[in-house]
Symmetry: C2
Subunit: 322 residues, 2 copies
């Protein structure tokens, strides 16, 4: 008999699932589209089908499965395993935990995906061994997770750590959230794409012109990387600007949280790890107090696309003790 766990990364576009053993190894992965446009029950069914497929394909024995853990975007009540609110999924005050426990007859735990990802980095990745951790993930938006004294911090209503919506310029550009000058309005892929388009509109030459003319959404991190590595001036100056403001946000978090380590992850950081880390480290002295900065490491995240899976495993351990 083995102790097995199923870990899920539930996103707005795909559901990633894995079987993990008691050594925290990933034994099998399954991926399905989320299709949130089909509505709540369809999404729940798709999550169930990922779990069923993991169980049947791996051959998980009836008594081997100990628990299921998940990370999902939105405000997740980790205590009651309810989704309070998830902007990209058809969920509002949705008792996902109860539904999954009825189906699979094992405990189901869940948390906000970015929070859970930071928990993963803390237990298995770049922040192993530290007790005070800030995680910042730079992708389409900017999300964060905070570990205080070896415990995941969620705020009084499970909505804390919204570091992407920290104002770093009160009169700055409008953010998607309706406020002005949020960190996300400067350093996310949304902001980077907006700056690149503004440069193109002003007639600045860039290898990204064709890609951005075709692509309506945000830029792919891999395209940004290619342009930066080719020495594209617009791409480089846009990355520098995004990293500069990201550093302001990191400085604020260091002054407020006095952490031991700051972990940077997400698509943009993964694609341009060396460049982003070097820009942040060269600017951070402008925003963080020397006394605190001298005791704070700044490092790239390690778990990449598996952060939430490992984090779900860590959440099972944190809540259920397995």
């Amino acid at each position: 008999m083995a102790d097995l766990f199923i870990c899920l990364d539930i996103g707005g576009s795909k559901i990633l699932g894995a079987v993990m053993n008691e050594k925290d190894e990933i034994l099998l992965r399954v991926k399905k589209k989320t299709k949130p446009e089909l509505g709540r029950e369809a999404v729940d069914d798709r999550i169930k089908s990922v779990i069923h497929e993991l169980i049947s394909t791996y051959g998980v024995g009836k008594n081997d499965l100990k628990a299921i853990g998940a990370g999902a975007p939105g405000v997740i009540d980790t205590k009651n395993r309810n989704v309070r609110y998830a902007p990209n999924l058809p969920w509002k005050d949705h008792a996902l935990g109860r539904i999954m426990e009825e189906e699979f007859k094992v405990p189901f735990v869940m948390g906000n995906d970015v929070n859970v990802g930071v928990l993963g980095e803390w237990k298995y990745g770049a922040a192993r061994g530290y007790s005070h951790v800030i995680g910042i993930f730079v992708g389409t938006g900017i999300g964060g997770g905070i570990i205080i004294d070896g415990k995941l911090f969620t705020g009084s209503g499970f909505a804390g750590a919204e570091i992407g919506h920290m104002t770093i310029n009160t009169e700055g550009p409008l953010c998607n959230c309706g406020q002005r000058g949020c960190l996300e309005a400067y350093s996310s892929k949304i902001a980077i794409t907006r700056e690149l388009r503004a440069g193109i509109d002003m007639g600045m030459p860039t290898v990204l012109a064709d890609i951005l003319a075709e692509e309506k959404g945000v830029i792919e991190s891999s395209d940004l990387k290619k342009a930066v590595l080719q020495g594209d001036r617009l791409a480089i100056s846009t990355l520098q600007r995004a990293a500069y403001y990201l550093t302001a946000g990191i400085g604020n978090l260091i002054n407020i949280f006095n952490p031991e380590i700051v972990i940077l992850g997400g698509g943009v950081v993964e694609a341009l790890e060396e460049e982003v880390l070097s820009l942040v480290k060269s600017n951070i002295g402008r925003f963080a107090w020397p006394h605190m900065l001298s005791r704070t490491r700044i490092r790239a995240a390690e778990l990449k696309d598996d952060a939430v899976l490992y984090g779900a495993r860590a959440l099972i351990s944190e809540i259920l003790g397995y």
Copy 2:
């Protein structure tokens, strides 16, 4: 036999001490100048003399004194009762706790004064009954304290909660700390005084012209209050500006900490409580997310000059269990 406690508020200019009983009533107060210019031993002796005077004047019996608690400015190692660093006092890696315990033969606990003040408001003042609290004190500078899940948050190195040095405008005015655009550079008495002087230099009429011509330091909160209540336009617009940026800082803290309550205190808020609270409440929707804001109360602190004394009592209770 009674259980008695001595509580201290050690500041850069004065040492305030009190005898408190087991009902947390203040029975006697003593105040002395700190005189930091006389050096470390002299300051330690002045603290000792405040305690000796409290003991002898009240007639504290040898077995009645259970513990001494203190709040002091700077980075205070609450676990080891050491002062790591205190910019306004002649202390660096100073074992104040050991020295006081040798002198008085009872346990001595201490913490950062603003942190301890928030602990006081939480246990005895405006934040009673809440578990997630942000306290912001607006005086010459801006200090903060944070309670998470019913516990005082200090960061990994006892230097956390430096909310006055959160950047709210990356290209903003220089702050005393050497950074730009810190909350303190907008909303502290230092910043308010600077704005008033700038207005006077530009020839704006104000009832504060004479006071600021004579006074070289920062403006007294009571003078600012008088001018605002008289309808002085420069004083009013300066207060509005300070409160606006203060609100940006509060919004950031709400988005990051998702607290149940935000407590505002310090000289400026005490002098102009109604005005500051009303300005903050009318602007906060611009900076805090509606989801979190709807669950967050914003209130004035209650304990005024006694916040640190009561907080020292709360710290004794938190650390020693008395």
